[in-house]
Symmetry: C2
């Protein structure tokens, strides 16, 4: 177990390096306090998860670990929905941060609307875990929960178009066909030669959709011990690095950066507190509660800190998984109840799972067909087809390393491709 | 059933009369819109309660109705915690109101911090209903949930002392002993001759305690079909009348009045939607969720609308019930698991329940001892001892009429005794 701690610390190293280069004393102090608050958050989450897992077990809020099939752990009831502990402790930590660092009314407003949205989402996630809601509610609920956030959004509603893409909108001072179509819904700034597209209310609709996407994307990229919590941790660590890099190297020290940092540090602390118990072999499950909570937190940070596109780039594995899953999610291909990897009861190795399909029926979607069986369309199964059978813990680590690599790619795109 | 609707409308008549006297066109329009929004809230709550009660039943979130002992309904599982529907619909309604009427940043801040606190409380209430938390959490949770509210509180922190009480603090231009003790913790304004006591942070502590009190006071004055929801409705109707009276008759048209009205009208609409299903014979139970939600909503309105003392006066039956319950709650007297009235299986009439106690042991607390049985120390049992056996529905109506009478008393104190 001890080596895993070292592994967990790795994604935080770039951020720690950046902290050393911060020369703004005020922000440095803020970060130190925030680290202390989230250390307390880590300790509290770590201590409260076992307490609350007894409660959830007693009330039957538990499930079997499908990845333990054929092992002595197969019949053990694993307590569910422990994301509530992370969520509540996170809310308390950020209320404290707000008390210490949000000094004027507009900062308080941003904090309160952000926390209201996150709190609403945690509540709805827990509702889903305890009542097992239908899909339509799962899509409506994040939209409802993001309303307070969008209402109090006071930033710009225009989109900056990078040089390389401007040609799509305008050429020779005139709108192209694509530019003309976009201009029907938004306003392409012709004088700026397509560099700015004013989206107006459409911007808020996009933000709302992003909240729906973030919450659900994490929720369907799951099923392996430690993966939900682990991916959220990697994304959060990347976000933290992104903001600290902006502050320390680019001297971009606006309110947006401060807000993002004050939200993401306690998120990392409380998530690590849960990850300890969710890591292989999982003693608790995080539940939809955690997926909704983390998705909404990222959406909130992205919206209020004005970097929605960079945020989306940190979700590349989730986006691939989502797009790849579409044929099964929308029933164009048969979708079994669970699409988890298959497990070999003797070797304890995981391989990709498959569903029965007729080769001639699904020509459009099939990737490889063996004995009329198609592999399930999930990112996890795709990885397993490349790597071959893996132990559950190794599989999780591989997936988290892939998440890290995509974060590196995202920053490469952000700072090299799009800047030039 | 139809006559009950007429009964339910009665407490709203004074408010309706006040609306006719409002001459501020802007506020009148606001009230009309708010009434429309809460009509939608009523319809949605009414429609969603049966949907969600199937969910809660399926997950075993249900209980037996102890007031139906000996009747065919005794063994029926009644779905629990339907306060979640009221809570969620209320949040959506107030988000809509906020969208329509909160125009500047400081109004948005008040709305968002208020809704964050209420949302947090609904979540914690539902957590309590589904996990059955211990008492210590029940006391900590409302304090935590009221933190965002208190942090964004920007109003005065001084208390105005009415003429009749000033003598207790000062006499002949000097502090009395009581005044001196109070001056240790707060600042008695000596130049104003004790009319103002500046409480500073202590004010916020009081506000936090009020939130804890309101949530728990409703929770322990419960157990009869329709009582939790009914009392909340009467208190809300009284609050609405109070604010409309201030606006229409006293031309007190500050932000505070607008905020209170925009919160309390959707509360009434959504609570009535739940009351329909909770009224005798109850098809659903409201759960701790509703008690916490309503208590917090009242506390929030009282704090942001600056009338904490008038609010407390609307809680007189709850306060009597609480003080009367103290010997049992703190185990100075034996406290049975349930302190509900006893029910006669044949006549279906309710009488006060009792617990075994030895006359000589409890001389201090005993009110009446029959065959070494003491009546339970609840307001409901006290009423039953005065009225004699009552049918459950009649008992609820009697208790709600008492609640109304105490509201009348509260306004008499507020407008006649304290003003002069």
């Amino acid at each position: 177990m001890e080596i895993d701690y070292v592994l967990a610390a790795l994604p935080l190293i770039p951020s720690l390096v950046c902290i050393l280069y911060i020369d703004n004393q005020q922000i440095f102090t803020m970060i130190v306090y925030s680290l202390l608050v989230s250390l307390v958050g880590f300790i509290m989450t770590n201590a409260l998860v076992p307490v609350f897992s007894e409660y959830t077990l007693k009330r039957g809020l538990s499930g079997k670990d499908l990845g333990k099939k054929g092992s002595p752990l197969e019949s053990v009831d694993v307590p569910e929905a422990l994301g509530i502990v992370t969520g509540i402790v996170f809310l308390v930590c950020t209320i404290l941060s707000q008390m210490l660092f949000a000094t004027n009314e507009s900062q308080l407003l941003i904090f309160n609307s952000a926390l209201f949205s996150i709190c609403f989402m945690i509540f709805l996630g827990f509702l889903d875990d305890s009542l097992d809601l239908k899909w339509r509610y799962k899509l409506i609920l994040p939209s409802v929960a993001s309303m307070p956030l969008l209402l109090s959004y006071s930033g710009h509603t225009a989109m900056f178009i990078t040089k390389s893409l401007r040609g799509l909108l305008m050429s020779n001072g005139r709108l192209t066909i694509i530019g003309y179509i976009i201009n029907l819904f938004a306003t392409v700034d012709i004088e700026a030669n397509g560099a700015i597209v004013e989206l107006g209310y459409l911007f808020l609709v996009f933000m709302g959709l992003q909240a729906v996407f973030c919450t659900n994307a994490i929720n369907i990229y799951a099923g392996i011990n430690g993966l939900e919590c682990g991916q959220a941790f990697i994304i959060a660590a990347s976000l933290l690095f992104f903001k600290l890099y902006e502050i320390s190297m680019l001297h971009n020290e606006t309110e947006n950066e401060r807000f993002a940092i004050l939200m993401v540090i306690p998120f990392i602390g409380t998530s690590l507190g849960l990850l300890r118990h969710n890591w292989y072999p999982a003693k608790v499950f995080v539940g939809d509660t955690f997926c909704y909570f983390s998705g909404m937190t990222f959406a909130v940070i992205g919206i209020h800190s004005h970097f929605s596109r960079t945020l989306l780039m940190l979700f590349i594995p989730q986006i691939i998984n989502f797009i790849y899953s579409v044929p099964q999610l929308f029933k164009l291909l048969p979708c079994p109840r669970h699409r988890l990897p298959a497990i070999d009861a003797y070797t304890r190795m995981m391989t990709y799972s498959s569903f029965p399909c007729k080769a001639h029926e699904y020509k459009l979607f099939k990737v490889r067909v063996t004995d009329e069986q198609c592999p399930n369309c999930t990112f996890i199964c795709a990885v397993l087809r490349v790597t071959g059978p893996l132990h559950e813990k190794s599989l999780c680590i591989v997936l988290l390393i892939i998440q890290c690599l995509f974060s590196v790619l995202a920053f490469y795109i952000r700072y090299y491709l799009l800047e030039n």
